[in-house]
């Protein structure tokens, strides 16, 4: 009995290894520090309860400005829609492991489409006040088993990086603002990730920014078209509106790229907005993903989807799903001070390493993990978020507070945030 079962398992193992060996010729399996988790199925491993908030927090904002569905912060809206129809959703809050608050704090756009984060702290406060007064679950743990999707530039800090007078005191204050005090115990699902930065909480889950999947699918070209561009980048190098002198935007890294490599024929870099942007990425070997005002950018998602090796120029950045995806093996990291030597660095990478990176990028589960497809598909970003949440389970007993115990300071933060929304 034992021999037969062991024999069959050995045979199965051989069969799978043989089939995967063939698969390996073109792609490679991706295993990060959390293991081989990209293809895990979260269903059955956690339960999420979705609060019912008045529509002024979500639907009305979207109705006012439908652009919120297409900009790079649209993950918060799609996450809400996904959870409403997902099998992990439970209508019984007592058996839920995680609680989700459907609020769209980034859906307040300027006429040009950039989000204004100034009212977001107040919106968040009022939402939390609502859920803490209508349901007992917030007070039970002071939010430690709640999670929020905050895809803005600096996550739950809800501000821009630099106040535009160059007084140093102002800058320090802006960073000192930190994460909204009420969210300090909650898990934040955000795009921003930078090590040793106040706006990145320890237990946060970093997600990729939203990139429209259908649009990218529509621009795919056959994979046998030879990659002839060495390095590709399209975007701003100087932000003349906000930083005319240069040196502040991207901490000077983008400007350094331009000044050093504008004469280099290997570097196809410019500020154009070509219609063939996606196709050009598929014809390139390296795609630069430098920081902007924030360290993350949708270029990373685009590079991964189109098989172009991302060259990440952002010191101390934390990339999406860093525990599930081994970014060191997939992308190239260049320190900002090494930008003048970028061509030397890139040409000195051994070809075997480059080919391996391309094989890793060709893995369909890698591409799927970066996308937010409508409707959701297995292995996509939604599922990776749930996997990340599932990996944090079971909750430690200490998060449950005793009766009457209060940890959060409801009056902390700038006075302007305390005004009702």
């Amino acid at each position: 009995m034992m021999n037969r079962s062991s024999l069959s398992t050995i045979l199965l193992f051989l069969f799978f290894s043989a089939s995967s060996a063939e698969h390996n010729a073109r792609t490679e399996r991706i295993s990060g520090s959390a293991g081989d988790v990209l293809e895990d199925n979260p269903v059955g491993r956690l339960k999420v309860y979705v609060y019912e908030l008045p529509s002024k927090y979500n639907k009305k904002l979207l109705q006012k400005d439908p652009r919120c569905l297409t900009h790079m912060f649209a993950a918060e809206i799609f996450m809400h829609r996904f959870l409403l129809s997902s099998p992990v959703r439970t209508r019984n809050p007592d058996e839920a492991d995680w609680f989700y608050t459907p609020i769209y704090p980034t859906c307040d756009l300027t006429p040009t489409g950039l989000p204004l984060p100034f009212k977001s702290p107040r919106m968040m406060r009022s939402a939390i006040q609502l859920i803490s007064s209508n349901w007992p679950y917030w007070n039970r743990t002071e939010g430690a088993d709640h999670f929020f999707v905050v895809p803005h530039d600096f996550g739950a800090c809800f501000h821009y990086q630099v106040e535009f007078n160059f007084d140093i005191k102002q800058e320090e204050k802006a960073i000192e603002r930190g994460i909204l005090p009420l969210l300090q115990r909650a898990t934040l699902v955000q795009t921003f990730g930078q090590r040793n930065h106040v706006c990145l909480d320890q237990g946060s889950i970093t997600i990729p920014p939203f990139a429209p999947p259908q649009k990218m699918q529509a621009h795919l070209i056959p994979p046998d078209i030879p990659r002839s561009i060495f390095v590709y980048f399209r975007g701003l190098f100087y932000d003349v509106n906000n930083d005319p002198e240069g040196g502040y935007y991207a901490r000077g890294a983008r400007a350094a790229v331009w000044e050093n490599f504008k004469n280099n024929p290997l570097f196809d870099i410019s500020t154009d907005h070509p219609t063939t942007y996606y196709e050009d990425m598929q014809r390139s070997i390296f795609c630069l993903c430098p920081l902007g005002w924030a360290p993350w950018s949708p270029r990373l998602v685009e590079a991964v989807v189109f098989g172009c090796i991302p060259v990440i120029i952002a010191d101390d950045i934390v990339l999406p799903f860093a525990d599930a995806i081994p970014w060191e093996e997939i992308g190239v990291f260049v320190a900002e001070k090494d930008v003048p030597k970028l061509d030397t660095i890139l040409t000195s990478i051994p070809t075997e390493v480059i080919l391996r990176k391309q094989r890793l990028l060709a893995n369909p589960s890698m591409k799927q993990a970066m996308l937010f497809p409508q409707p959701a598909q297995p292995g996509d970003s939604f599922h990776q978020i749930l996997n990340g949440l599932a990996r944090k389970l079971p909750h430690d007993r200490s998060i449950y507070l005793r009766e009457g115990e209060k940890v959060l300071n409801w009056t902390a933060g700038p006075v302007g945030d305390l005004k009702p929304w």
Binding site: A25, R26, V162, F166, I168, E171, P222, P223, D224, P226, R227, S228, F230, Y238, V240, P244, E245, G246, G247, Y248, R251, G252, A253, A255, A256, E259, N260, F261, K262, N263, N264, P265, L266, I285, D315, E336, K337, V339, P340, K341, D343, T344, L346, T347, S348, I349, T351, I354, L355, Q358
Partner: protein, 532 residues
């Protein structure tokens, strides 16, 4: 005068206020000019210093206006600013900010790395900010450009290997070429060799030589970069026996195709044969070209006469699989020898077209596993090789099979002609220098029997008539070594640079210098006669 000054200042103020409108400036200038004009009439008590000052201010004002017009901002203000304020920073503030100009940058040198971070007193460096780092020579380094191109080339090769052949992966192409040493062997073998060198898959080239291995063939074949198995064979060519031995011996795995050395293969042919499972057939274009040009001309006339047969004649005969509408093999197109009856030849050298007598091997490709001994996965419709009698040879490729209907038609069911069959050879008794290298220079005269063109082109009727005597009759081929020809040309070039040597030159130029040419010609004839 005070009023004049006031007006002057008013004019200046007006000009400065309405700086951007040139009309106002003009009016100001006009006014000041009028003022100036008025002043000699008006005043009488003007001190020369005051007028000088007025003129000075006027001139300065006009100058400022003009410069402002050019530069587009308040030049006077800028001058004032520079004179009054102390320069506070090493960076020159360039007002106003022009987006097309690069902003002030910090050039980085390794020693000054820290000082580069120090900025003006008005702004402070944020933690982590480097300033815009630029290396001293921001231009591409040729060594790195080469490295990058090698990387690109390697990536593209990998892409091709993975995605190129329909993603199926590439099978080795085993090319079998029968050959023998002859005049045109180098011509044909080089052609096949170049085709095989271009094939993007692995190639094993089995060269079977009749009459044993020879150095000639070996030297030609060694220049290819592909793996070559050179085999000698002493009997009449039955095509596959030697190769089978080789294929079996080394367990070569791939697709076997027959590359006769005078055939022409297209690159798509190699892509298409990757698709063969066991036994495939492709369409071969037959170029039934006769070796005799006169014959060809005659046959073309005949073609024009036979109107009703035009259709048949104009299409290229093709040997290959025939399919019905549902792409199933139903038969074979073979070469119809009837129109050429009486005019065909078996051996090359006779004055007639060489035509294929039966099914040509080159139109068939096989999976090399068919030739292996162990019948692991061979389909039953393939005969065992051991059963076929070695001495008889294999008459037709189809006789290798028990069931000829299992042949796979390739190239969209025979509609694509992927290779061409041609037999063009020199005469059997033609001589050629070994290795096609002429060394030492020859001085041989060979009588040519039947060339349709005159052996030596007739000289143009110039003063060089003396040279006509050099040729010894129409039937002979004079092989003048090239060095001597060049010498003659050089002599004539030196004589007069106006004319081109040995070409029809204009009479006028000739007559200009009659004496020189004749002397030159006579000297060359003398020279030649001495040699003779």
């Amino acid at each position: 005068m005070a009023s004049f000054h006031k007006e002057e200042e008013e004019a200046k103020a007006k000009a400065e206020e309405g700086k951007k409108s040139t009309t106002m400036k003009l009016s100001a200038l006009h006014q000041s000019y009028l003022n100036r004009r008025r002043s000699p009439l008006d005043s009488s008590v003007d001190a020369p210093s005051k007028s000088f000052l007025a003129v000075f201010w006027l001139v300065l004002h006009c100058l400022c206006c003009l410069i402002s017009l050019l530069l587009g901002f308040r030049f006077s203000r800028l001058v004032f600013f520079f004179l009054v304020s102390t320069p506070s920073s090493s960076n020159l503030y360039s007002p106003p900010f022009r987006p097309d100009l690069p902003p002030p940058r910090i050039d980085l040198t390794p020693s000054n790395a820290t000082t580069a971070e120090v900025k003006t007193s008005s702004s402070r460096v944020v933690v982590g900010r480097h300033g815009i780092l630029i290396r001293p020579w921001p231009h591409p380094d040729p060594v790195e450009v080469m490295k990058a191109h090698r990387i690109i080339e390697r990536v593209q090769r990998e892409q091709k290997a993975v995605f190129g052949a329909g993603g199926k992966g590439s099978r080795t192409v085993i090319a079998v070429t029968p050959t023998y040493v002859r005049t045109f062997q180098a011509l044909h073998l080089n052609g096949v060799m170049h085709s095989l060198m271009l094939v993007p898959y692995d190639v094993v080239w089995i060269v079977v030589e009749a009459g044993g291995v020879s150095n000639e063939t070996a030297s030609i074949v060694a220049k290819s970069g592909v793996r070559v198995i050179h085999v000698g064979f002493d009997q009449r060519m039955p095509n596959t026996w030697e190769d089978r031995g080789k294929v079996e011996e080394e367990k070569l795995d791939g697709v076997v195709m027959f590359a006769d050395d005078s055939n022409m293969h297209s690159m798509e042919f190699f892509d298409e044969i990757q698709n063969v499972k066991w036994f495939g057939a492709v369409s071969v274009g037959i170029l039934a070209h006769s070796g005799n040009a006169e014959e060809m001309v005659m046959s073309m006339d005949k073609r024009r006469e036979m109107v009703d047969e035009v259709e048949e004649r104009s299409s290229l005969p093709v040997q290959g699989p025939a399919c019905n509408a549902t792409d199933k093999l139903i038969g074979w197109h073979v070469f119809n020898t009837l129109p050429y009856a009486g005019k065909s030849a078996v051996y090359i050298d006779d004055v007639a077209a060489v035509l294929p007598q039966k099914l040509e091997w080159c139109g068939f490709v096989l999976n090399s596993r068919i030739l292996w001994d162990e019948a692991e996965s061979k389909p039953e419709w393939v005969k065992e090789f051991g059963l076929l009698n070695e001495n008889e040879g294999v008459e037709s490729p189809l006789s290798l099979l028990n069931d000829p209907s299992m042949v796979e038609p390739l190239g969209s069911c025979g509609r694509q002609v992927l290779l061409w069959w041609l037999r063009v050879e020199a005469r059997a008794d033609s001589k050629f220098p070994p290795g096609w290298v002429i060394d030492p220079p020859l001085e041989i005269t060979v009588a040519a029997k039947r060339t349709p063109w005159p052996d030596v082109p007739p000289e143009p009727p110039t003063k060089k008539k003396d040279q006509m005597s050099l040729s010894q009759g129409n039937n002979n081929v004079v092989v003048i070594p090239k060095q001597q020809q060049q010498q003659q040309q050089q002599q004539q070039q030196r004589s007069s640079k106006v004319r081109k040597p040995k070409r029809r030159s204009k009479r006028n130029k000739h007559e200009a210098k009659p004496t020189d040419t004749t002397t030159q010609v006579s000297s060359s004839t003398k020279h030649h006669q001495e040699r003779n």
